[in-house]
Amino acid sequence: MKEVLGDRKAILLFMLPALLIYIVILLVPIVWSSVYTFYEGSLIKGFSFVGIQNYIQLFNDSNFFSSLWITLKFTLIVTTGQVFLGLMLSLLYVFYIKRASFLIRTLVFFPVVLPTVAIAQLFAKLFEIAPNYGLVNSVLTAFHLETWVQAWLGQPETAFWILCIMEIWKAMGFYAVILYAGLMDVPEDVLEAAKIDGAKGWKMTQFIILPLIKPILISAIIFSLSGTLKVFEQVVALTGGGPGKSTTTLSVYMYQHAFTNGNYGYGSTVALFLLFMTLVVTLIVYKVSWKDQT
């Protein structure tokens, strides 16, 4: 038994392809990227060692802080939106539409699988103003709300909000289905008992349901946070970071420095900061949830 299941040659053969490609393409680059943070230059210009200068630059770079702020704002708004709307939808599925909710779940989940680029292009068309009004401006005109017609993606404030709305729209069905699965695991008799004790509506949700689905709510929050912190494709495809710097998130800022300006060292420093931030956020959320459970 031990010979067959502990066959070192077989283990090696099973593990090697996956491990090799994973180490070379994923793990080595992380270390390599950390080394880049002490250098300046690019493939074309060549590299020179600069010590901690990139880190000093990072903490004196107002553009970095502005993109950090935009990322945090985006993360906070979108995570709240996705998880809250997901929760509301899941409650709707379980308590209002009940068993017949499959069709609605399927429809609301559908944007999750669509390519981000296509969604961004679609949203750009929805909110277009020139040469023709897009759907939104067109509908506003039909309701005689001409004063509301505007270049949605051409103004910093509205462009940022449309980015948020797009991301919430795309993913809320995902969180709804996760939380729905959590709600389905809540024993029926617990809910019955609470009902008999007079709990209903928001009270029921707050004191009975939320505590019971807490673990799954926390994984939903972690998922959403880690996804939104590294937001890149949505921005590139919808606004390209503009207008101005209003939608330049950290990963977009990193990309601009690395590939547009050809500064690998500084780009890597921003990327390392992003990795660090993702890890810290995950740890904090795990810590908080762990403390509450004991």
Binding site: M1, A10, A18, V117, F174, S251
Partner: protein
């Protein structure tokens, strides 16, 4: 204290709410598909929310030929399917060794792979760009395949180990007793037992790989090698705003494969996409 009148109003409001939710999620996509069928003149003469006057299929032909979408589709297919094959093959083999074979650091190995789930893509872009530049994998779909496999493995291994857990050890042990080799056990016993999971994981990875933008736009600059997502980015650029019809058709084409796949396999897709989140 619900009167029947109150209940009736509540019922209507509830129905209305569900209706609004469905409209918000479905209508934009419906609008996209309808707009892709409009003739050029319609965009300036009638408002955006009107239905097309006739089915102007020419938009699709223009997008496919002049807009190069045909080439982009080919490239996406070339990059996606080998990636999926290797992700499943390597992922299942590694998960089998981790979950069903007996060696000291198997748990540690699983942990090493799990780290990969959290890694933000920007951190690997520059080193990979350097590596690919040096070995000639820039502007090469093989480079993309390597990246997709590496980034697909963590979640795949994580999911497969949890599915292999459900395969009874007695089954494997009795096969060992009967003298089957470990390779035989993997191929003829373990793999068939998780065939449903293979379908699910393949679908999940399909959506990740097929929808990727960041790797494709970093490692491919040759327009003849662009994938659908990068092609779509440049598409609206080249045509500008004048050619609305083909632009809408191109976006619709990017959406259609996933739309069709989803319509047929929605249950499996939903289960697969969320299982990683639920278990993690």
């Amino acid at each position: 204290m619900n009167t029947s009148g109150g209940k009736w109003i509540g019922n209507i409001l509830g129905k209305l709410l569900v209706f609004i939710i469905v409209v918000i999620t479905v209508y934009p996509v419906f609008w996209l598909l309808m707009s892709s069928l409009k003739a050029p003149g319609e965009f300036s003469t009638s408002p955006m929310y009107t239905l097309p006057e006739s089915f102007h299929i020419q938009n699709y032909i223009d997008a496919w030929k002049d807009g190069n979408m045909g080439v982009y589709f080919r490239n996406s297919i070339i990059a996606t399917f080998p990636s999926l094959l290797f992700i499943i093959l390597f992922g299942a083999a590694a998960a089998f060794a981790i979950e069903k074979m007996r060696w000291k650091i198997s748990r540690g190995m699983l942990l090493v792979f799990l780290v990969g789930i959290m890694v933000p893509v920007p951190i690997v872009l520059l080193p990979l760009f350097t590596i690919f530049f040096n070995v000639g994998l820039l502007n090469n779909l093989l480079g993309l395949i390597l990246v997709y496999v590496a980034f697909g493995l963590p979640l795949t291994i994580f999911l497969f180990t949890s599915y292999f857990k459900a395969v009874p050890n007695e089954l494997i042990e009795s096969a060992v007793m009967d003298g089957a080799s470990i390779y035989r056990i993997f191929i003829s016993i373990a793999m068939p037992m998780i065939m449903n999971a293979v379908v699910t994981v393949t679908l999940v990875q399909f959506f990740f790989v097929w929808n990727d933008l960041i790797f494709a736009m970093t490692f491919i600059s040759d327009s003849e090698l662009r994938t659908i997502q990068t092609g779509l980015m440049s598409f609206s650029g080249e045509y500008g705003q004048r050619q609305w019809g083909p632009t809408f058709a191109a976006i619709s084409m990017a959406v259609l494969p996933t739309l069709i796949l989803y319509l047929f396999l929605n249950k499996t897709v939903m289960k697969g996409m969320t299982s990683g989140a639920v278990k993690g």
